[in-house]
Every structure is written in structure tokens, then in C-alpha cells.
């Protein structure tokens, strides 16, 4: 049986079909999880996909981080469940305190929508375990607030714990330390700005996203 993946849908989420389609094509058993849901029972992975949850009002992810489902995501993460936030989902995880730091407006104040090269910087996470450090991946970004910021102590703890998962080859948004994705201490909660689901078919121009999503599904199967 494939890994059981829940794709969380907030009002304003718009990448849930792409994420579900990409994961299903890799063998996952996918279902959608509405933001009012308080239980994530029976899931191996929770994905928070991209979009503009609650219109990005206040700050991206700020309102979504208080959703009913997020209480369940916090518990799910605490019990070791795999949680992956993509783009807006990464912003939600930071706002919810599941990942440190924040995502600020891009340095150039422009919305960026383009294929971007990132390099795998750590294999110590549920998304990158099994993927060699140094692997270059071309995956699209699609964001206005993708510039990763944290204080010096947090950055040091990310380095010490080998928790920077992905770095941009050519930093597009002013992210500190070229950071494109990070993990929590345990490595089971991951956030990244690039959209692997948009690089999941040759028709889309790249299949590099499958390297990450495929690793996620096989790592979760190994955990179960």
C-alpha cells in the first residue's frame, strides 16, 4: 500500500490538486484535509500545499496558523508524523512555530515565478533522506514572500543541526544563507519555498521534484 498522504486545504489554497496529482503519480494514497478537520488519523504524511491561505491577509500563513487543523498538525508532528509545507505551507509552518524563522517579502519586491536551481544541502530530513548532498534540482518557485529570515542564534542552530535542506544556487529573493528549505530538529517537519509538484513530469519541464517527493514517500514507508 502507498503512503497515506493528507493534503491540507485552506480557503485560498491553490496547489492542492497539483500536489495530490504528483504524489498519487508516485504511488501515494492521497486525500484532501479541510482546514476545519481536527483529526489526522490514518495518515502517514501531511502536506500543506501552496496558495494564498485566507488571502494572505495580515501576513502569509498568519491566519491559517490558527486553523483548527493546525492543532492536529502540531500533535501529528509531535508524534513523529511527516509534515511538509510547500511555499505558502512553509509560511504557515513558520507562523505556527513548527519551524523557526519567517518568510519576508522578496528583496526585489517582485513576485517570482520561474524555474530555480537548488542544491540539496542536507539529507537529515524526511524529504531529503536518501538524496545525496550536492544534488542539483531545478524546481519552480512561485512567491512574493520567500525571503527566509531568522536571528543569528536560530541560524547557528540550523547549521549545527544540519537542518538547512535546500539552498538556491543563485539566490532569487534575498533569503539568508541562500536558504530554500529547512527542517525541524527531528527532521520530520520540513518547509521549502520551491514547488516540487510543479516539477513532477517531463511535460512540466522538469521531473526533479519527484526526487524529493519520491524520497518523502519511501522514507515514510520505511518509518511505518
Amino acid at each position: 500500500m502507498g503512503a497515506r498522504v493528507g493534503v491540507v486545504v485552506f480557503p485560498g489554497t491553490n496547489c492542492e490538486y497539483d500536489a495530490a496529482t504528483a504524489l498519487a503519480s508516485l504511488g501515494a494514497d492521497v486525500r484532501y484535509v479541510w482546514h476545519h478537520t481536527a483529526s489526522l488519523e490514518g495518515l502517514d504524511v501531511v502536506v500543506l500545499p501552496g496558495g494564498f491561505a485566507h488571502g494572505d491577509y495580515l501576513r502569509p500563513g498568519a491566519i491559517a496558523s490558527f486553523s483548527e487543523v493546525m492543532g492536529a498538525v502540531v500533535e501529528f508532528a509531535a508524534s513523529g508524523g511527516a509534515v511538509v509545507g510547500i511555499c505558502n505551507g512553509f509560511q504557515v509552518l513558520c507562523e505556527a512555530g513548527l519551524l523557526p524563522g519567517a518568510l519576508q517579502k522578496n528583496a526585489g519586491l517582485t513576485f517570482l515565478c520561474e524555474p530555480t536551481e537548488v542544491v540539496v544541502a542536507s539529507s537529515r530530513s524526511v524529504l531529503t533522506s536518501g538524496v545525496a548532498v550536492g544534488t542539483p534540482l531545478t524546481i519552480p518557485i512561485n512567491h512574493f514572500s520567500g525571503s527566509y529570515v531568522c536571528d543569528a542564534a536560530t541560524l547557528a542552530s540550523l547549521h549545527d543541526g544540519d537542518r538547512v535542506l535546500l539552498r538556491y544556487t543563485r539566490n532569487p529573493n534575498g533569503s539568508m544563507d541562500d536558504i530554500a528549505g529547512i527542517a525541524n530538529e527531528a527532521g520530520n517537519v520540513v518547509g521549502l519555498m520551491p514547488h516540487p509538484e510543479r516539477a513532477s513530469s517531463a511535460l512540466l519541464g522538469s521531473t526533479d521534484g519527484c526526487v524529493l517527493l519520491g524520497a518523502l514517500l519511501s522514507n515514510v514507508r520505511a518509518m511505518v
Binding site: 495580515l58 490558527f66 519567517a102 528583496a107 519586491l109 529570515v149 536571528d151 534575498g174
Partner: protein
């Protein structure tokens, strides 16, 4: 008692402010010279019911720190006036 509150959310010192920087760069083109250190932020107006000014301040500051500002990037300053 009822209070008018204004919460001003600004980026912390040391956090890059691309919006402020863009505004600052635009000013000379409009003939406004000698303007420095432009910082962008946002302002919220709220009406609060509380037993005292101290309680109103506590309420405004805590809701600002919990929701209106992201403490990683921003700080929130509260101004109060009794109605």
C-alpha cells in the same frame, strides 16, 4: 472603560525593509531631498473595553504580539486614548 487603540507594527532593527528602501530611492526622483532611513510598517485601529488603561494596554500588546506582528520580523507599539 472604552479605549481607542492604535497598534503600529514595524520591522525590527536589522531586518531588511525592501519596501522602505524602495520608497526612499523614489523620493529624490520626486524632488524630496534629505530623507533618510525610511521604514515601512502598518497601523491597526481598535476599540477596546477594559477595566483600566493598564488592562487595555496589556490586552492590545498581547493581541499585537500574538497576531498582528510576527515577533521574528516585527515589533508592535501600542498607543491608547480613553474615550
Amino acid at each position: 472603560m472604552r479605549f481607542d487603540a492604535r497598534v503600529e507594527v514595524t520591522l525590527r532593527e536589522g531586518i531588511a525593509d525592501p519596501e522602505g528602501a524602495t520608497i526612499e530611492r523614489a523620493l529624490p526622483a520626486l524632488g524630496f531631498l534629505g530623507v533618510h532611513e525610511v521604514r515601512a510598517g502598518r497601523s491597526f485601529r481598535l476599540v477596546l473595553d477594559a477595566d483600566s488603561e493598564a488592562a487595555a494596554r496589556e490586552l492590545a500588546q498581547s493581541l499585537a504580539d500574538r497576531l498582528l506582528a510576527n515577533p521574528v520580523l516585527e515589533r508592535a507599539a501600542v498607543e491608547l486614548a480613553a474615550r
